[in-house]
Symmetry: C2
Subunit: 248 residues, 2 copies
């Protein structure tokens, strides 16, 4: 079979590391699509694309909804009738203004647009290609090697686990994303497409900051193991990178 | 004591009925503030204000964040050092485009602004007045008669109970509101201000539509009983109008 993956927000952090680890896998995906807001200034990602024929860079600012059809067209021309197997909505935003005094309505709106609206509408835009993959691979069990959409959420988006308060813009946007994922999982019932939310852990990236608990490498290798093992029972689930469930 | 209440979105539906029932209570609040986008064209609400000295109309479109200080000033000039006891963020929006095919990014952003950002920032704007009430009424137990913020949420905003899918804009905005409420409840720890989310039931209003299950009158009388009985244990809770808990 021809396994294809698209990951958003790949110029750095978890997105970039996911690209590296997918490239190192044996076998590596037939086609790995990595989006970045500026693919010409993508540094390490550009070098990887130059060295790996199966890595395709797609220029996309996920908040430019009008650009989605062009991104879908680019992917469609390469994957053809095999469709797209796995969409990982990784691009995200953590506003600087975190507490009640500092947060502004604009922080809330920006975080919601990037962290909730964009992944849901990118899922919607790529759905025809993902449905193709689900139908083509009818012998494959439900999982990422057949057809799946993974929303990169955060345990900070768990209302039940919110004991720290604050972080209004980020928390609200991720709780909203989890809700959108849940609705999408219900709406995709019977399509053989897996849909779930993933918490990558508190990772040593620009976003995670210096007090984070795990390296980007550990995060991504553990997460890829978890993704590989997803089955029908994980449809609509909210899981940590290490395959433990998170309450809503 | 001087009990004061502010309710948003009072030109119709649940907001209007809450105003009527608060006016009929014995004793009625010393000051009842009712906001509407256009108080000069508020029909029944205007008539009630003409007939009841303790009802004050405040013109406010909750998405005009720059108008919040003026609304706070109007309320402050009336309640003075007694502060505001109870804020009910009732104004809400249910976009027409409900399913995956129909929903647009604009539907998502509009619903989030009205249903999540506005109630949180209105809570923030009125917090100094609500803190005054919490401090002035130091013999009163924690509850709405001391100082409280009630967010009008919806069981449709429960991720755990989402078995129907769709309704993306409304569901995401209400899940986000519940998260913001939860953060605010944590941040208000020790202030003696009660903060919680309320599901009013599926009510026969313009928003609820003709298939709804309860009348606006039943909704509001039951909800007022529940609000009256709220105690410290309900801080950060998500309750139905009839005082039963809802999962996140």
């Amino acid at each position: 079979m021809s396994f294809s993956v698209l990951i958003t927000g790949c110029n750095r952090g978890i997105g970039l590391e996911l690209v590296k680890q997918f490239l190192k896998k044996n076998p590596s995906p037939a086609h790995l699509f990595a989006t970045a807001r500026n693919t010409t200034a993508a540094g390490e990602l550009s070098e990887l694309a130059a060295a790996n024929e199966n890595l395709h860079l797609v220029q996309l600012d996920v908040t430019n909804f009008k650009d989605y059809p062009e991104a879908v067209k680019q992917v469609s021309q390469i994957v053809g009738e095999n469709g797209l197997n796995l969409l990982i909505n990784n691009a995200g935003l953590l506003p600087q203004n975190r507490d009640l005094d500092a947060v502004t309505p604009e922080d809330m709106m920006n975080a919601f647009e990037v962290n909730c609206v964009a992944p849901l509408f990118l899922s919607k835009a790529f759905l025809p290609l993902i449905k193709k993959a689900a139908d083509v691979n009818s012998v494959e069990p439900i999982g990422i090697h057949r057809a799946a959409i993974v929303q990169m959420s955060s345990s900070v988006g768990s209302i039940a686990e919110n004991s720290g308060g604050g972080l209004y813009a980020y928390r609200c946007s991720k709780a909203a994303l989890n809700m959108g994922m849940k609705s999408l999982s219900v709406d995709l019932t019977g399509t053989n497409i897996l849909e779930m939310s993933m918490h990558p852990g508190w990772v040593l990236t620009d976003m995670g900051g210096p007090n984070a608990q795990i390296t980007t490498e550990t995060c991504c290798s553990t997460m890829l193991n978890t993704l590989d093992g997803l089955t029908e029972k994980d449809h609509g689930a909210f899981l940590r990178y290490n395959n433990t469930p998170i309450q809503w």
